[in-house]
């Protein structure tokens, strides 16, 4: 049965914020983004970096016109990425899947919000 790990009181994790909580000999990163909660192990699938301690960045997209010409780049704020600070590996916040090679992923945890706060099920 999953163990509940207290993360924070609801008011202490504002939208766009992240909190790292200990879990044995590792940590779990908990995010609240656009009203939704996400939790992942703070361990990059690459060389083991603290993925959840890095930046949260929007996906970068190329702008290609109908005539196939390159028009620049833009941020797509509908897809946010967790970026490992060691080497820059990026993971889709929604799924934990590594965006450049979908055979890798962060370990995902369920997270619940109760009256007295936010909990991760580990």
């Amino acid at each position: 049965m999953a163990r509940e790990i207290f993360v924070a009181k609801s008011d202490d994790l504002s939208d766009g914020e992240r909190k790292i909580v200990p879990n044995g000999n590792s940590e779990i990163g908990v995010y609240r983004v656009k009203g939704r909660l996400y939790a992942y192990q703070n361990l990059c699938a690459h060389q083991g970096g603290p993925a959840c301690e890095g930046l949260l960045m929007a996906k970068v997209e190329e702008v290609i016109a109908e005539d196939k010409t390159y028009q620049g780049m833009r941020f797509n704020h509908d897809e946010m990425h967790i970026v490992c600070p060691w080497h820059g590996w990026e993971y889709d916040l929604e799924t934990g899947v590594m965006v450049a090679d979908r055979t890798f992923r962060l370990r995902k945890y369920d997270v619940v919000e109760k009256e007295d706060g936010i909990y991760v099920l580990a």
Binding site: Q47, G48, P50, L55, M57, F75, H77, P85, H87, G88
Partner: protein, 413 residues
């Protein structure tokens, strides 16, 4: 410090501690018992530009020194008279956060240089015992249009390193910078510094256009061979190079730039028969990863079999000479199909010729686990690559960390 991101949610960071950043590296170290393994990092870095004012004090030419003092004092705007700049953003636009955050890190004011404190922090976290430390901005010094500046800066840097930094801790060594655009000055560098404590070899930054086969270098190679000091070719990149200037992403110019200069120099080295002229001179190719080596081996062998008249000094295949050379591992390409990497290891005789390195603190650094976790290596091969090969290459005294050191697989140190 605020790091701008794509969103309204900028990242605010109040403090930075390498030990905390690398806590997962320390966990890897403990899980694998790496404290019991000799680990020698043949290529890590510091930021010598942060000590520029001290280094400039060692410049011998009074005119260049005065120029440098002005620059390191009040500054001269965006220009640097001493170290050429090049466009780039190795930190992936702030994503590799230790670049912008490093200035926040606190170190004790106890007389030990900050670079020693910072180096020992990450070394201890990874379980690294000894390092060969290289500069960072000076990796572009070979592109300076004034050879006398390369000579003045590198000589000042080497003196500063040998007199002020290396004596502070025996775990930190260096392969001193050679001002390769001036062959005579390179010779004097080897002559004057080759026997200094902590100097384990000499290095040429390969991002330059002087050919290694030039007769002007032969006496330097001979001197290094006589002194038993290895010669390293350390990769970097130059986005202003006419070839790399045709690339429009740093990803490309890095992937290619950090390999093509070393590949060019290596091809020149082999085909001109320099291994025949200097059979005891040990040569190591640094920071080009490994994938370029099988490519170059096959290309040179194929052409050599048809055009051996252009390489009459050779008595064996180019690839066989390349198997006698040494290679640093980072940034080690790890293909999803590990058979590819295993074949690469086989082709370069990795068990005796490959030396692990971290390149820390740079963005594409490797941990010791990239070698230690490879399923196709036995324990002896892992330990050779992580430390023993470098110990032999540098003739390194490791008794300070391993008083009773015995080479993996038997034998005596």
């Amino acid at each position: 410090m605020d790091i701008p991101t794509s969103d309204i949610h900028k990242m605010s960071v109040e403090e930075f501690d390498t030990k905390k950043l690398l806590i997962n590296a320390a966990r890897q170290r403990d899980r694998r018992k790496l404290e019991d393994v000799l680990i020698v990092d043949v290529d890590c870095h510091h930021y010598e530009n942060e000590s520029l004012r001290d280094i400039i004090q060692y410049i011998e030419d009074p005119v260049i020194k005065q120029t440098g003092l002005v620059y390191s004092g009040s500054g001269t705007g965006a220009q640097s008279p001493l170290i050429p700049g090049v466009v780039g953003y190795q930190d992936i636009s702030g994503r590799v956060m230790r670049y912008p955050l490093r200035k926040l890190e606190q170190t004790p004011a106890d007389g030990t240089h900050r670079d020693i404190h910072l180096s020992l922090k990450w070394m201890d976290a990874m379980g690294v015992d000894y390092v060969s430390m290289f500069p960072t901005p000076m990796l572009l010094l070979g592109l300076h249009p004034q050879p006398e500046i390369e000579v003045a800066m590198s000589r000042a840097y080497n003196r500063w390193l040998v007199e002020q930094i290396l004596p502070q801790n025996e775990r930190i060594t260096s392969m001193l910078y050679l001002p390769f655009n001036d062959p005579e000055a390179s010779y004097k560098m080897v002559r004057d510094f080759g026997d200094k404590p902590g100097v384990v070899g000499f290095s040429v930054v390969s991002t330059r256009y002087k050919p290694v086969y030039d007769n002007a270098y032969m006496k330097t190679y001979r001197l290094m061979e006589e002194m038993g000091k290895p010669l390293a070719f350390h990769a970097s990149y130059n986005w202003n190079d006419p070839l790399l200037g045709a690339t429009n992403r740093f990803l490309i110019t890095h992937a290619m730039g950090f390999t093509i200069y070393n590949a060019m120099h290596c091809a020149n080295w082999v085909i001109n028969g320099l291994p025949e002229r200097f059979p005891k001179l040990k040569v190591i190719w640094i920071e080009s990863g490994l994938a370029w080596i099988p490519w170059l081996m096959q290309r040179l062998d194929n052409d050599y079999k048809m055009r051996s008249s252009e390489a009459p000094s050779l008595t064996k295949l180019p690839s066989e000479y390349m198997q006698d050379m040494y290679y640093s591992s980072q940034p080690m390409e790890v293909p999803n199909d590990l058979d590819v990497l295993e074949m690469t290891f086989k082709m370069i005789k990795a068990e005796t010729q490959l030396c692990w390195c971290s390149d820390y603190p740079h963005w594409d650094m490797d941990l010791p686990s990239v070698i230690y976790d490879l399923p196709f290596l036995d324990e002896t091969a892992k330990r050779n690559i992580l430390g023993e090969n470098a110990r032999k290459l540098f003739d390194l005294d490791v008794s300070g960390r391993f008083p009773d050191y015995a080479p993996p697989g038997g034998g005596t140190a």
